[in-house]
């Protein structure tokens, strides 16, 4: 876990800056980052500690960068060689810009990736919605953890 902490710190030093700076927490932030479970093809959370007093944009970028690498049995939801080109945060909306490899996602796999992003960034209370761009073009907008239903809908009694 300590090694991961420093890895996240390293990523933060070299990531780009957003347009809005906002501090989050004084304590290390305990969070869940989502990956694909190879056996079920469904999402599974992995626990991380993020450094305290870090810029929200850096935190979002670090989270997405973590999601891009496989973690043992857990696979990244992103297609191979997908890169995070830019991260912005403005008025509760996080804008993520990916390289064109992201466009390989479609159907339920695309839904899986969007759910993973929305659920992972839901750790940050001030992120209300997420927009996704690919090389400048908006491909998904208004993603939010609140719009994801993970339990079987039932008949009201």
């Amino acid at each position: 876990m300590k090694r991961l902490f420093f890895a996240v710190l390293g990523v933060l030093i070299f990531t780009s800056c957003g347009t809005e700076e906002s501090k989050v927490s004084d304590e290390p932030q305990h969070m869940q980052v989502y990956y694909l479970n190879a056996s079920t093809n469904m999402l599974l959370a992995e626990e991380y500690d993020m450094p305290p007093k870090e810029n929200i944009v850096n935190l979002i970028s670090s989270t997405i960068e973590l999601m891009m690498e496989d973690k043992g049995e857990l696979k990244s939801v992103f297609p191979e060689n997908t890169k995070l080109l830019d991260t912005r945060f403005e008025q509760g909306t996080a804008s993520l810009e990916f390289s064109k490899e992201y466009l390989a996602l479609e159907g339920f796999d695309k839904t899986t990736a969007e759910c993973a992003i929305a659920m992972s960034l839901a750790n940050f209370w001030n992120v209300d919605s997420i927009d996704i761009y690919v090389e400048g073009k908006l491909v998904a907008t208004g993603l939010s953890n609140d719009n994801i239903v993970t339990e079987m809908p039932k008949v009201q009694e």
Binding site: F108, T111, N147, I148, P153, K154
Partner: protein, 432 residues
């Protein structure tokens, strides 16, 4: 107790297995039904939800485009559940289960441009299960009542049979074998008690015979003494020579009494000896001592003693016991012989046995008496033995008892010369 446990297990199984099986079959039926219904909706025949049913249509990115539940509509949301993943992977799966007494079933199937999600609740299924449970409860109750009756009848039956046993055992006098029907432990116990009773009766019979024979044996010399003493007392002016003659006769009878008493004592000791301290005994040494004692008797009876004793014939026993065995056999062979007769005493060993053979060409023993001669006070010819030879019917009983105590065997057979041959064998002991 065991039957109670078995009954409890049976009751548990009766109340659970049918319920589990029924629920399983209801779930299977529901899964088939909901799959068919979902296929119909996917084919576009209808999208109208029935009572207790919820239909949700999804686009190919699992976003809800239609929800039959308008109050809690999910339109616009993403339905990210494993069933959608399975439908996406072309392996749609229907699932039905009982949750909080209600059967629920759901499935997701692919349709043109997305998926159909359908959820259904079935209260009727649980009613069917409840009916079965009720029936099973009545069955259990009936079984319980039957079990209690069976236990009462069984207990009464067992009590009755045990009473027969008790009355058989507690009877003051033996009234014949106890009869208990059946083929169980109680019948076995009755049979064992009958065997025990038979043994006790036999033992008691032996004891009575022994006491009666012993009394008879003791009374005979006592009567003689009484007669002789009376003769002395009642004869007036009896001369010294006659008195001496009478006294010699009295002395002989006293000797006889002493011998009987000694032998009875020996037998009693042998009977009571639980664990004998056995030691290696050299047969030749003992036999030599016996022969030197009986040489004079043989000489007087004009009987020739032929001895052949091998060296190192050792068995586990006691020197006194070995002496009694050899002495009694040789003495009998001399006593019940004719003048000019021969008694052969052989001692030798084979691979693993020590053997003592006492063979005579005397008057012999009828073969029908071979089985009986080792019994106490048994004599082949009672009149002859008592009068002439001074026997008391205890010698061979002592021999047999000693042989048995040393794990040996004794055999009696007619001798080739018309007399009798006794063969005694013992397991061989290595060295002294």
């Amino acid at each position: 107790m065991l039957s109670l446990c078995i009954f409890a297990i049976v009751l548990c199984l009766v109340n659970t297995v049918p319920v589990v099986v029924l629920r399983g079959s209801l779930c299977q039926k529901a899964e088939k039904e909901i799959s068919t219904r979902a296929e119909q909706i996917a084919a576009g025949s209808t999208a109208e939800a029935l009572d207790s049913e919820r239909i949700i249509l999804l686009d190919n990115e699992a976003r809800v485009t239609y929800d039959s539940d308008t109050e809690d509509s999910m339109v616009g949301k993403v339905l990210y559940i494993p069933a959608v993943r399975k439908a996406h992977s072309k392996a749609p799966e229907a699932q039905a289960q009982f949750a909080e007494e209600i059967m629920i079933s759901h499935t997701v199937v692919p349709r043109d441009g997305g998926y159909v999600y359908i959820f259904s609740r079935d209260k009727e299924a649980e009613i069917t299960v409840d009916k079965l449970k009720e029936t099973l409860w009545f069955v259990s109750l009936a079984l319980g009542i039957l079990f209690v009756f069976a236990m009462i009848i069984g207990a009464y039956h067992i009590k009755k049979r045990i009473k027969v046993l008790i009355s058989g055992v507690s009877a003051r006098e033996y009234t014949g074998p106890i009869t208990v029907s059946g083929n169980d432990e109680i019948a076995e116990l009755a049979e064992m008690l009958n065997k025990l009773s038979a043994q006790m009766i036999e033992t008691e019979e032996l004891r009575r015979t022994f006491v009666s024979d012993a009394s008879h044996e003791l009374r005979t010399p006592l009567s003689s003494i009484q007669l002789l003493v009376d003769s002395i007392v009642q004869t007036e002016n009896i001369d010294v020579a006659t008195t001496k003659e009478f006294m010699a006769d009295i002395s002989e009878q006293i000797e006889r009494l002493t011998r009987i008493a000694e032998r009875l004592l020996i037998l009693t000791n042998l009977d009571g000896a639980k664990i004998l301290a056995l030691e290696p005994v050299d047969m030749k040494k003992v036999a030599t001592s016996v022969i030197s004692t009986l040489e004079q008797t043989a000489h007087e009876a004009k009987v020739e003693l032929v001895c052949n004793f091998a060296e190192d014939v050792i068995f586990r026993g006691t020197p006194d016991g070995a002496y009694q065995i050899i002495f009694n056999l040789v003495e009998n062979a001399i006593k019940y012989n004719r003048p000019g007769g021969v008694v052969r005493v052989y001692i030798y060993k084979n691979d693993d046995e020590c053997l003592l053979i006492v063979d005579d060409n005397g008057i012999g023993i009828p073969e029908e008496d071979f089985e009986l001669i080792f019994e106490r006070f048994y004599r082949v010819d009672k009149a002859r033995s008592r009068k002439d030879k001074g026997g008391n019917g205890l010698g061979l009983a002592i021999v047999k008892k000693n042989v048995e105590n040393y794990n040996g065997k004794i055999k009696v057979e007619p001798s080739v010369d018309g007399g009798t041959r006794f063969t005694v064998t013992f397991p061989q002991e290595g060295t002294l």
